[in-house]
């Protein structure tokens, strides 16, 4: 099916500097993610969970999942650092700016302070 008539041999798989994970590793990573997701869903069944508690449990798990997907599936861990900078800058801006915005609305005053207490 592939009718590649390029004279040069197809360029070797794009070099990422480091070796990317193998398929087996990807599956393992997915299992980890799935496990965390199960834990997340599990919190739904905790009857007496307060919002504070849920935030305290769920947000860290969310961040871990986020980092795993970005780092491994999106190869940020292996790829050119410029990608990381561009993306994380956007992410950082988003979190900080909207965090501040929500703060000016007093959004965190109830939940957030409870955690600190």
């Amino acid at each position: 099916m592939t009718t590649i008539t390029d004279n040069e041999p197809a360029e070797a798989p794009v070099g990422h500097g480091h070796d990317l994970p193998s398929d087996a590793q990807y599956v393992k990573i997915t299992l980890i993610l799935a496990f965390i997701t199960v834990l997340e869903v599990g919190t739904y069944f905790i009857e007496e969970a307060t919002t504070t508690l849920l935030v305290g449990i769920l947000v860290p798990m969310m961040i871990v999942k986020f980092l795993i997907v970005a780092g491994y599936f999106m190869h940020l861990k292996y790829d050119n650092p410029i990608f990381r900078r561009v993306f994380l800058f956007g992410l950082f801006l988003s979190v900080v700016v909207f965090g501040v915005m929500l703060t000016t609305f007093g959004f965190f005053s109830s939940d957030f302070l409870q955690i600190l207490r």
């Binding site: 009718t3 590649i4 008539t5 390029d6 040069e8 410029i82 800058f89 956007g90 801006l93 900080v96 700016v97 501040v100 915005m101 703060t103 000016t104 609305f105």
Partner: protein, 669 residues
């Protein structure tokens, strides 16, 4: 289905009939190099830059006429030239036009034309996307302005505070046009932003490290980064408003529990970075002009770069200074007040570094330089009034008065526009191959300066005397009469100066053949764009330039002699490229960008008037996406070309063309 390129080779025409390669009339790949077709289908960053410039000037006249209408209405108390309803539309459209359709695209014009040249690239990273940005912008602008004929312009002010812009309070279609029109220009900005950022990061000539980029390119990069991150925010805000207006959503419906401050936040989170998007390209331009005419390098290059980055960065942390009176609470106000003040620090560094560049120079007072000095002087005034707004308690007295109007016209007109006007005079010979008349240019400058200060200077007084902005008229007896009259006179002087600018363009063009040709480097320039012939040949550089120094071109002309004194060792003509383009390979023109861009206004009209039009627009969008994808970025029907000595067999009868073509595309998308 076979892939559709390579048409020429399989046409069963008798041998020798090489001319008629595509039997498809308008459906064939565009190839024109001159005439209107070449403009419609171009993907050349220079042509696109020129079109950006021309359309921004066009919209400047529209926005200016709106401004003159405002000033005429306010010339004396109690006038009835414009009804309240019309006045509200006029000032709103004035603000929107000037910001989104004049200053932003004017910046884009310079960036498009110059940035690839300054980094030594043949084009931007994605030439077709570049064309798409332009067409999307221009159709967005036209879309916005057609509102005048379809029920009236937007009437909610350029920052469109909800709920005053909801259907209940603004039932005409004006705000729909505003919301959708800005959405469209937002798409244009976003696409352009991604493109130009990638270009700067990725397309630099060998040796052109980041810290050797010309300051203008640096400022463009910061601007585009700001755009990329700011546009989505206003997009969301506009979506929410559109959904509220068209589909009855509740985002700004106070009765349903909404908080109108949400709009204010979203708008200004975009809006404040936006004002730096307006000014930074002009800062970049001035940083190119002042060194050239002082014959000295820019003072403190690293500081210039980092202060620009700092401005861009800090610009994200100050948005609420537009909301000091809206009841944020003292803690937020205090935080934003202080953060705002500190933006003066990097900006001050820039002002002082320009002054230090002038210091000890040998300054020639050409028109570009006059405008640049004008910027330094006038922007400072606007910046200082900005700092007085940053003092939050004081701002509660100033906000929404003409003192603010004075501030932002000083920074935008006295800053951004002065810079751009200087840039026009400076790069005109590079772009068109002839000079703009310097004498008329000076008349232009002085008239502008005088008119500008007459118009906006008095607004400081008016504002402090308590004259509100956005008022259709004012009463006698408030002490507003005299200065308003002066301001109106000033506005008409500006109009005169603008006319002189246009006369200058027309006269210079007509007299172009009488002038001596500017040559590649008429001003003894410093950056790479001066190393190619004027006007710039289509392929920019004959060979990829190899960069050694910051201000590389200047260093090629001037070197230290045995005694260590820097002297001129080469005339520019000796070392400039000749423009024969022997080894160049260019992306092929395409119709798809303009076709795709028509989809957006169609969808917009449809949302406002009848969804069936949106449906057609959607089809156009989808179809052109596919058409675009199927069209190789490179037109292999074009004449054979050498590339890096790598010949390409054009007779190759291979249908799976992309694989073959891949190896020799210089730039494409």
């Amino acid at each position: 289905m076979a892939i559709i390129e390579r048409s020429s080779d399989i046409l069963a025409l008798p041998p020798g009939a090489g001319v008629a390669r595509a039997p498809m009339g308008v459906f064939s790949r565009p190839r024109a190099k001159t005439g209107w077709r070449s403009w419609v289908s171009t993907v050349d960053h220079k042509k696109i830059g020129i079109m950006y410039g021309a359309s921004s000037l066009f919209f400047f006249v529209i926005g200016g006429i709106e401004a003159l209408a405002i000033r005429a209405q306010l010339a004396a108390p109690g006038q009835k030239l414009l009804s309240a309803a019309l006045y509200n539309q006029v000032f709103t459209m004035h603000g929107v036009t000037m910001i989104f359709l004049v200053v932003m695209p004017m910046g884009a014009a310079f960036m498009n034309y110059l940035m690839p040249l300054q980094i030594g690239a043949r084009d931007v990273a994605f030439p077709r996307l570049n064309a798409l940005s332009f067409w999307t912008f221009i159709f967005g602008g036209i879309f916005l302005n057609t509102s005048w004929f379809l029920g009236g312009g937007a009437d909610g002010g350029w920052f469109a505070y909800a709920p005053n812009t909801g259907v209940i309070f603004s039932p005409s279609h004006g705000m729909d046009f505003y919301a959708i029109g800005l959405q469209i220009t937002g798409i244009a900005s976003l696409v352009g932003g991604v493109n130009l950022v990638v270009t700067v990061l990725n397309m630099r000539a060998p040796g052109m490290t980041m810290m050797k980029l010309p300051v203008f390119t640096w400022m463009s990069l910061v601007t585009q980064v700001l755009l990329i991150f700011a546009v989505p925010v206003i997009s969301v805000a506009l979506f929410l408003l559109t959904f509220d207006r068209l589909f009855g959503a509740n985002f700004f419906n106070v009765q349903q529990g909404a908080d109108p401050l949400l709009w204010e936040h979203l708008f200004w989170i975009f809006g404040h970075p936006e004002v730096y998007i307006l000014i930074l390209p002009a800062f970049g331009i001035v940083s190119e002009i002042i060194p050239v005419f002082s014959r000295k390098p820019i003072f403190g290059y690293p500081f210039m770069v980092f202060s620009g980055i700092a401005i861009g960065f800090m610009g994200w942390g100050v948005w609420a200074h537009h909301m000091f009176a809206s009841g944020l609470g003292p803690i937020s106000v205090a935080a934003f007040s202080v953060s705002t003040m500190f933006i003066a620090v990097p900006t001050g560094v820039k002002i002082l570094n320009w002054m230090a560049t002038l210091w000890g120079g040998k300054i020639s007072f050409t028109t570009p330089l006059l405008f640049s000095i004008g910027l330094v002087a006038m922007f400072t005034i606007g910046g200082l009034s900005g700092v007085t707004h940053a003092v939050a308690p004081a701002d509660t007295q100033q906000t929404d008065t003409y003192y603010i109007v004075a501030h932002f016209h000083y920074v935008i007109f006295g800053g951004a526009l002065f810079g751009f006007l200087g840039g026009f005079y400076f790069w005109w010979p590079k772009v068109f191959g002839y000079f703009l008349d310097d004498k008329l240019g000076k008349v232009h400058f002085w008239l502008t300066l005088v008119g500008f200060n007459l118009t906006f200077g008095p607004m400081h007084i008016l504002g402090l005397q308590g004259m509100n902005r956005r008022i259709q008229t004012y009463r006698d007896g408030y002490g507003f009469n005299f200065w308003n009259f002066v301001s109106t006179i000033g506005a008409f002087i500006i109009a005169l100066s603008v006319l002189i600018f246009f006369v200058n363009i027309a006269r210079s063009k007509r007299g172009a053949h009488l002038q001596s040709a500017p040559g590649p480097d008429p001003w003894d320039g410093r950056s790479l764009e001066w190393s190619v012939p004027s006007p710039t040949p289509e392929h920019n550089f004959d060979d990829d330039p190899v960069v050694v120094h910051f201000d590389d071109w200047w260093h090629r002309k001037y070197q230290a002699d045995e005694t260590g004194r820097v002297v001129k060792v080469h005339e520019p003509e000796e070392i400039a490229m000749i423009g024969d383009g022997s080894r160049a390979h260019l992306p092929a023109p395409s119709y798809w960008p303009i076709v795709m861009a028509t989809a957006f206004p169609l969808i917009g009209y449809g949302l406002i008037f009848n969804l069936a039009i949106s449906f057609v627009g959607g089809l156009v969008l989808l179809g052109s996406m596919v058409g675009w994808a199927l069209e190789p970025s490179d037109d292999e029907d074009q004449l054979p070309h050498g590339h890096d000595g790598n010949g390409h067999d054009d007779g190759d009868d291979d249908h799976a063309a992309p694989a073959a073509e891949r190896e020799e595309v210089t730039v494409g998308d």
